[in-house]
Symmetry: C2
Subunit: 249 residues, 2 copies
């Protein structure tokens, strides 16, 4: 296993940072790494907003569900799906691109582009000895987040990436068994095998929680996911995305 | 700049592979690296289908728009947004999770999860001296692709990742200027600056194409994007995704 793969396998979220800001040079290095990621047909349909302003960081921490580490991070990046750029191109080129821009296909492209860039940014930061945590909680209140970041139509802030000097690193949660995530030549057709794999994983996760909580937490992955999905988070999303002019047709 | 960042900055697509398959060990290394990526609230809403069967590879190459390198690759991975797993969990836990599973929010989560994992897979492969190319062309005919891969409802094949021993590496296309992708504290509000940046980038891209084609290709980025968006690709996507039970509410 080489160093790069070792770094990936060693990844864990960091939610406790030292009180130290990233330098301009570090930020530049991270953003340039992000930009080096692949982009669908060269469309570059994403933007990154780097938040250093302390008031804004605190506001975003609050909007993300009072996640204090957002405010404490060395730098807070917000990754956005961005087709505003392409709307401006339509104006520049004197052509109507609305149908494309509003399509589900291009919405998907923008999400994928943003996530590919974000993962490069994360790994670049980690390779520099920094810690990271994705912050999906930003999607709790996207209207307010958009106002803080002044994003125009056709731009959706997708998630934050808190980066900083790690004060404490989380434990690594065991992932689904490789066989369950990875299928050979076609998707697993045998439902019994599929369910057996989930149940085997439940035992792994259950043991993990028990060990971490001295026996107090008795939970399985499937029950955790079921509970989470039952709470129906962020059901306003479809309307929000469409009002911003994306995923409409 | 450390080695990891150097590797990222050196990334370019590879569309010409030597006739050599990946080993099981290499595939395992790549998939494990993919699984080490962050996943939104631990939902792990993606799957990877690894295609080694030559007939299937050829069929997928054809469906992706006759991209022969898909068939020639050392291994062809297909990254899928996957909420089928969560549908099975609903059954296992005896609970109805339809509203969550069908939400735009969870569709976004699945896309982001899949893309984060894919970028780890790409970098892991590159760190092993392999070349990669994302294949968005799979989305040209997703119904047929789903049939080849036998994906169930709530699973959308998003893109392929062709991996193999590079026979020839593409040149690296210059990215948008960092200032244009990266905003400080809020999105750029000055449209003139925004347009100036696009125009400056047009000159960079124009020079790049001229140099690469001995003056034959005279193209700008904005005209290229305008042309691409005007062609309105994959407008069936919304219907397809919704028929698969995602992004519905």
């Amino acid at each position: 296993m080489n160093e790069m793969i070792q770094l990936m396998k060693d990844h864990r979220s960091v939610r406790h940072f030292e009180d130290k800001r990233l330098t301009k040079e570090q930020i530049k290095e991270i953003v340039t790494a992000a930009q080096s990621a692949s982009t669908s047909s060269f469309v570059q349909a994403y933007s990154i907003i780097g938040v250093s302003d302390q008031q804004k960081k605190e506001k975003l921490a609050e909007l993300a569900g009072n996640q204090g580490f957002v405010a404490d991070s060395g730098h807070f990046f917000v990754f956005c799906a961005d087709l505003h750029r392409h709307e401006v191109i339509a104006e520049l080129e004197g052509i109507d691109l609305t149908e494309s821009i509003e399509s589900t296909e291009k919405f998907m492209v923008a999400l994928i582009d943003a996530a590919l860039a974000a993962e490069n940014a994360s790994l670049a930061a980690e390779s520099m000895g920094l810690g990271i945590c994705y912050v999906g909680g930003l999607r709790n209140q996207l209207q307010e987040v958009s106002e803080v970041l002044k994003t125009p139509d056709h731009v959706i802030p997708l998630f934050g990436l808190a980066v900083g000097y790690p004060a404490k690193r989380n434990a690594q949660k065991p992932r689904l068994p490789m066989n369950h995530i990875y299928h050979e030549n076609e998707y697993e057709q045998d439902k019994d095998i599929y369910i057996q794999e989930l149940q085997a994983y439940n035992e792994v996760i259950s043991a993990y929680y028990k060990e971490r909580t001295a026996g107090k937490r008795d939970d399985t992955w499937t029950s955790q996911i079921a509970g989470m999905f039952e709470r129906k988070k962020r059901m306003y999303m479809k309307q929000f995305v469409q009002e911003k002019g994306l995923d409409k047709r």
